[in-house]
Symmetry: none
Subunit: 241 residues, 4 copies
Amino acid sequence: MEKNPAVPMRRPPASAKSEQRIRDILRVARQVFSEAGFQAATTTEIAQRLDVSEATVFTYFGGKRELCVRVISDWYDEIIAKVEDNLPHVHGARAQLHYLVHTYLRHLLAEGPGLCAFILSEGRARNDDFGEIYAELQRRYTAPLMRILAQGQADGDIRQDMPLRLLRSAVYGPMEHVLWDAILRGARGDVTATADQLVGFLWQALQPPQQNALALAQFRGEVQNALHRLQSSENSEGGAY
Amino acid sequence: MEKNPAVPMRRPPASAKSEQRIRDILRVARQVFSEAGFQAATTTEIAQRLDVSEATVFTYFGGKRELCVRVISDWYDEIIAKVEDNLPHVHGARAQLHYLVHTYLRHLLAEGPGLCAFILSEGRARNDDFGEIYAELQRRYTAPLMRILAQGQADGDIRQDMPLRLLRSAVYGPMEHVLWDAILRGARGDVTATADQLVGFLWQALQPPQQNALALAQFRGEVQNALHRLQSSENSEGGAY
Amino acid sequence: MEKNPAVPMRRPPASAKSEQRIRDILRVARQVFSEAGFQAATTTEIAQRLDVSEATVFTYFGGKRELCVRVISDWYDEIIAKVEDNLPHVHGARAQLHYLVHTYLRHLLAEGPGLCAFILSEGRARNDDFGEIYAELQRRYTAPLMRILAQGQADGDIRQDMPLRLLRSAVYGPMEHVLWDAILRGARGDVTATADQLVGFLWQALQPPQQNALALAQFRGEVQNALHRLQSSENSEGGAY
Amino acid sequence: MEKNPAVPMRRPPASAKSEQRIRDILRVARQVFSEAGFQAATTTEIAQRLDVSEATVFTYFGGKRELCVRVISDWYDEIIAKVEDNLPHVHGARAQLHYLVHTYLRHLLAEGPGLCAFILSEGRARNDDFGEIYAELQRRYTAPLMRILAQGQADGDIRQDMPLRLLRSAVYGPMEHVLWDAILRGARGDVTATADQLVGFLWQALQPPQQNALALAQFRGEVQNALHRLQSSENSEGGAY
DNA sequence: CATGAATGAGAGTTCATTCAT
DNA sequence: TATGAATGAACTCTCATTCAT
């Protein structure tokens, strides 16, 4: 006689006015989340800045968490749309890589370090329900890079001795680290120069080991890794390494 | 290897018993933070697992945040100590890089994905008072790598056309990305193989352009030196070695 | 069998269309209240199922509470109408009693346990303004039984040593208990068989104490009750009983 | 990183002070629930009457619902204990039935109509988690009656043509109906007289058909035994005695 | 007549933290 | 030193109800 078996969800229709409200809420929510992060942000704050009651926010969104997901999804949708629009007009694997790196860095820093930190850290949440949503967004977002890399490997332009997954980490990892650096130091730096340098660095790493020295160079790496391990087992005390 | 002096403590007790208590609390706190993350972890939980009252925890630590900082500091102290002990016995920039990468990956995954995620995400907190502490820890931790890279640049072994800061990101970024990947996918993978590949990738990128001939010559020397030192037999499970 | 005049309505619309709307709302409200109970039911849910706005519901009914009262009133009106139509054609006190019991059980279980529980528990609400309404409904509903019992007593067919009010409880009480039993156990059982047994039980109890043993039997009961009290006062510790 | 996998529950130990607190909270909660019912009762109200913060209430009880369950459980425990203590000293099925009826009515009305209504209506809740608890309490509570009835049937003192379950309903149903009547009318009435009448009614119904002669003979024996034991004078307010 | 839109007014919970003993 | 006990201060979320259009 007590528990509600039917789950009513108040979701208003998509009139022009409603859509404006939704946009307003998302805009302000993005600000507040950017400034405070998910946990410290409050629905109260969001409502107050909009000069509406908290209940209004809950009329349009299921709750704080859902709002957060929407903010992040929207951000990803924006950059994904942008990339998918422009990437086809960029020719050559290196240029495409450069475009991706440059766009990512610019986009994340454009709205300030708050949003950047918010996207980078909330996007990692391995929360039961939302982890999968974020993972899917990441997947969609990284798809273009994966295509470029896979094509490059197929064409022989990119080294084939590393799994795609690792190459992806080797591309996105540095970018995110650079961004955190910028955030924590409070300095933006020159995005374009950074992108150029990063791509220069990455491109060299992505090359298939050089022409005639191919076998030798690869062999060099393998032997060296083995040597390192040998050295280490001499040095390390606890059996570690 | 002294305890981080930047972490304040309310009343510094000094007895043997007290120190045991502190160690116990830190041990359990590390577990709880690893399992739940900072926000979701509760002082109640920590106290209960220790079978002491919450107040006792507060007797030794100023609060949840301070406890968190101590846990992270201690973790960094451990790995910093380890690196500083062993790195001097590793010879050659490439080997040192390999050592750092391998050690970092192994250390972070050793205690499970929970701790790993905790360190990676809390270490980013741009929190009022503690951001600086974390930044300092990062600085101390990355110092060895910075030294290696700086030396490599000075020696002409590493490209000089990129700022050190960027090189650091290019090294730590991929590692962290790989770790998040492992955490979120719930798969650990082969740490050693990953480290090998990553170092192979990075080392190629770190080469000064057109240094291949030089690198090979240097490598020849390294192999010869190593062979002289070789006493133990090679292990066989690595397959390609 | 006119609509309950005790239920106020904000604006009494009179058009055919309006009346259809009112019927629709009441139909859906009955469903929702049945499924969720009064508290957990929401006006939102009712409006959504009707595909109208919540405000429309409030145009026709003063509020959730009023809607609830109307649903209950209507349910009673139905069964009262049915009883008043058919009872005159049933002859003999016992047959009439049987008819009432059977009809009540069937009616309450017919629309499922949800409605049954709703009627039985909401009908008890000793709520400020509505308690009186429910009491009046009960009075109207139990009127036929009261007439039968009073007539039976007057005719000497039913024992006269108990107040009518108690007899009523002795009839309705078991029925409601049986219904709760069915609701809580989720088993419907055989309504007809239950009604037969119950009437058999009740009819025997309603008999005037037997023929020539009349005075003796009644005396027996009285003495026994007195004895019980004596026994009890010997046994009970706290003066209770 | 967010959701708490460990569920800490703050449950203080059972010191003397704690137990007093718990008793206090239960006492006040019983009052508040009695006055308002479960839904309308608030934890705020309970805390205010105790002159403690709401948090204190939550320190000792998991929440409003749990508090409610405890209040009801405790009430049942009281009456169950009382019945189990005294019933063995009551001899004869009829006397036992009388004892049960009388005790139930008195107990429920003793603390006022509020508590009575609360117990009767909350005890019906078919709430997912708590319905089972209430059902179990009911089972424990009705066990003595079931035993009496079963024994009566086995001995041939009680009619065997109805299932026990129905007999139970025929006993408890009238009692509850009488109680609701008292609650809704705001009149207490004479509990003892009501119990006497009800038992008279029920006992006649419970007789195996055609057992009147036998019953009278048995009764004669009982009266004679009782007379021998009689020492105290009869009270005179009962009128017919 | 119908409704889109907004909200007032809480409710139940949660927890890190404090302090007298 | 250890802790039992208490709490301040939020926070998220709910929903019946209103009213201008």
